[in-house]
């Protein structure tokens, strides 16, 4: 079997460099398998994240030959000939080697005003498949944060992280907005506090999403329209198709419902 050279970035917040590893190729392997083989032999302290090894948990995102990908879903035999470069996601601070500090995303999650449904009837809510499907698309998100990684608003501008939720959370807001049971209105909040206006629809996020969520077309663009509408049309934008309740006002939206 032929050999492959892996160029893996190693280091921490103080800096680092590439380290090269030469290994035998093995049939059917993905990049994560090769990283694991390096860990098990030459470099047991090589840091990376993973859990499911099946593209389901979103832990193993890294930049492979400069592009954000899930290491567990990237087949070695589908990469171009030559050395394979693996670097951590650039938008987030380095912890060690391929592991980055993604706490920005968890901080943004805390700022999402929760779902506010009406009280549940004894035998559960009734919702129809066509009404839940839009939300289901966004709920496929595995929180790999690769869309956040490529979004230029934060990739090149650390300062924007204070007031920019990023594509992962725009789909979360869209999901809540389109939720058949929700009565919370987050439109002004998304515009004023979460920086929806910074997005100029480059679609880079959609291109990298491993779940093939149409982040821009199905979430961001409708949200932008919706936010504009908020100023003259306070009633539901999805109106006809989805049986939804009247939204509360935007000023109440950032209030978390009581547990």
């Amino acid at each position: 079997m032929s050999q492959v050279t892996m160029r893996v970035w190693r280091g921490d917040a103080n800096g680092g460099d590439f380290q090269e590893f030469a290994l035998e190729r093995q049939e059917g392997e993905v990049v994560l398998d090769v990283i694991h083989r390096i860990q098990a032999t030459e470099a047991p302290d090589l840091a990376c994240r993973w859990n499911c090894k099946a593209g389901k948990c979103g832990s193993c995102a890294a930049e492979i030959n400069g592009k954000p990908r899930l290491m567990c879903m990237t087949r070695m035999d589908q990469l171009p000939e030559g050395p394979v470069t693996v670097t951590p996601m650039r938008t987030f601070p380095i912890i060690r080697d391929l592991v980055t500090d993604v706490s920005f995303n968890f901080a943004m999650a805390e700022r999402v005003p929760a779902l506010l449904p009406p009280p549940m009837p004894e035998d559960g809510y009734r919702m129809y498949q066509e009404d839940v499907e839009r939300g289901q698309e966004f709920r496929k998100c595995i929180e790999c944060f690769m869309c956040q990684d490529v979004c230029h608003v934060i990739r090149d501008h650390e300062e924007n992280k204070q007031h920019y939720a990023g594509p992962r959370f725009f789909i979360r807001y869209a999901e809540l907005e389109m939720h058949p049971l929700d009565t919370n209105d987050r439109r002004d909040y998304v515009r004023e506090e979460m920086g929806l206006g910074y997005c100029n629809i480059t679609k880079c996020c959609t291109e990298v999403c491993p779940e093939h969520i149409k982040i821009t077309d199905n979430a961001i663009i409708p949200m932008k329209e919706r936010v504009v509408d908020a100023h003259y049309d306070p009633v539901a934008w999805l109106g006809r198709k989805i049986r939804r309740r009247t939204k509360r006002t935007a000023s109440e939206a950032s209030v978390q419902p009581q547990p």
Binding site: G28, P44, A47, A54, R96, E110, M120, V132, L176
Partner: protein
Amino acid sequence: MTDYEHHDYDVLIIGAGGAGLRAAIEAKQRGLSVGIVTKSLLGKAHTVMAEGGMAAAMGNVYPEDNWQVHFRDTMRGGKFLNNYRMAELHAKEAPDRVRELEQWGALFDRTKDGKILQRDFGGHRYARLAHVGDRTGLELIRTLQQKVVSMGTDVYMECKVLRLVHDEHGAIAGAVAYWRPTGQFVTFGAKSIILATGGVGKSWKFTSNSWESTGDGHAMALWAGAELIDMEAIQFHPTGMVWPLSVRGLLVTEGVRGDGGVLRNSNGERFMFNYVADMFRAETAESEEEADRWYEDHSAGRRPPELLPRDEVARAINAEVKNGRGSPHGGVFLDIGSRRSAEFIRRRLPSMYHQFMELAGVDITRESMEIGPTCHYIMGGVKVDADTAATRVPGLFAAGEVAGGMHGANRLGGNSLSDLVVFGQRAGLGAAAYLEGGSGPRGFDRGEVEAAIVQATAPFERESGENPYDIQRDLQEMMQANVGIIRNGPEIEEAIVALETLSERVRNVAVAGGRAYNPGWNLATDLPSMITVSKCTARGALERRESRGGHTREDFPKADPEFGTFNLAHSVADGRWDGEFTTVRSPLLVMPDELKALLEEAH
């Protein structure tokens, strides 16, 4: 005495899978202060990988369904080794626990009239699994995670608990842990602790489990003085991927069979018809035509044999391969492509479609999958009181996969996710009741903290020693070979000797580098629990001289009624950690007559 970062809580929850998160919600709702600790980031626990669905007798598809039938199915699936009270509570409460998830944002697939849709799975008499395509675990964990976050809960991510800490009277007083990103130690003072650490599957070579499933909670409970039961009952899921080698063990959801997929050997034969045990004969189809009618309408035929409980199917596959009728890479074929439309498959099983397309280059809408058994789930675990999830150690509770009893000798698919929310909630309630009763620790044994830290940092002190990955690999290969799906006395005895040698080797592990995000060191700290738990499994497997559920002995191929009256319970004498453990026969709870009658009813 060194000072460590320290935090105090009413309830400390170890584990952020479905069980831990559900427990946190309950404890928070009771006004208690709650901290959650997890080895990974929030939302990445094993629960996220669950595919097929969560079982609850809501009767949305088959109104005939009710808790009594679910109870019966669970007990039969478990070969009656279950804690009947857990099975009863689970069957009764699962529907409410599933419905309430929609209050917190879950969006399950729907029936035509807008209710939660339910799908068929092995061993369940009716279509009973609430689901979202084949990513139900993701929906469950995200819903609970978002709820927990909206309640403002402290979550310690990438923080590994090493040991539980007692007070001066042997009650739970807290825990000692380290942050993976920095390697710094942290202590928790806790009036009560809920263990929700998941499973043990990483000790086998071919497994559907992630690196986290090292049995830490099982081992910590044992070391802390609790009992572990049924540790020999390991579920080998019949359908794991077998090729390419690097993904061997990765799960193929039972939903494939629930939605019409069938198993064939190398002759193209639907061999499961040849493996129907007496216990299931009356309710299983006799011909392919009858089985196929059942998919359309459950009253028009009996269940296909592909949907027998998992232990039955896994043994059958094993036998086919052994008899030379396997697939090229040592499995059998799972075929849905010839039986359902491509559109149906992509809609119902999207992640299976992608998993095979991207990892194996197989288009499951046209080609058969090659599959074989993979280590998947441990039925055994910490012995708990069904109603409160309390262990025998005051202040210590356990829920989810780490707890034992609910599933007996074999778990039905879909019964885990519902178990997580039913007993997660009960553990939260149990801890709250314990604290309301005025119980709580008096003191905090600093000696235990120091001992844990000395042990954890020892691998850095050694100039030379073994690579922890080598030990892990040898453990996995040994357990796969000797305590795998089919077992026998001499091989288990060999395993017990081998585990002693592995223990010795763990004492000689060395790691290089610093403590900050060092996977080699992290693994070194997982090895003691992996080996402790494997020892209990091997001991239980040796002493249970019969075959029952997830435990199959080729030297004792039949179930023995005598062995059906007790669990094997392991505990460490006088609550000392790392000590020798003893194994005793612990009689099953006596079932009330009205529940017994349910089991005897012919359906």
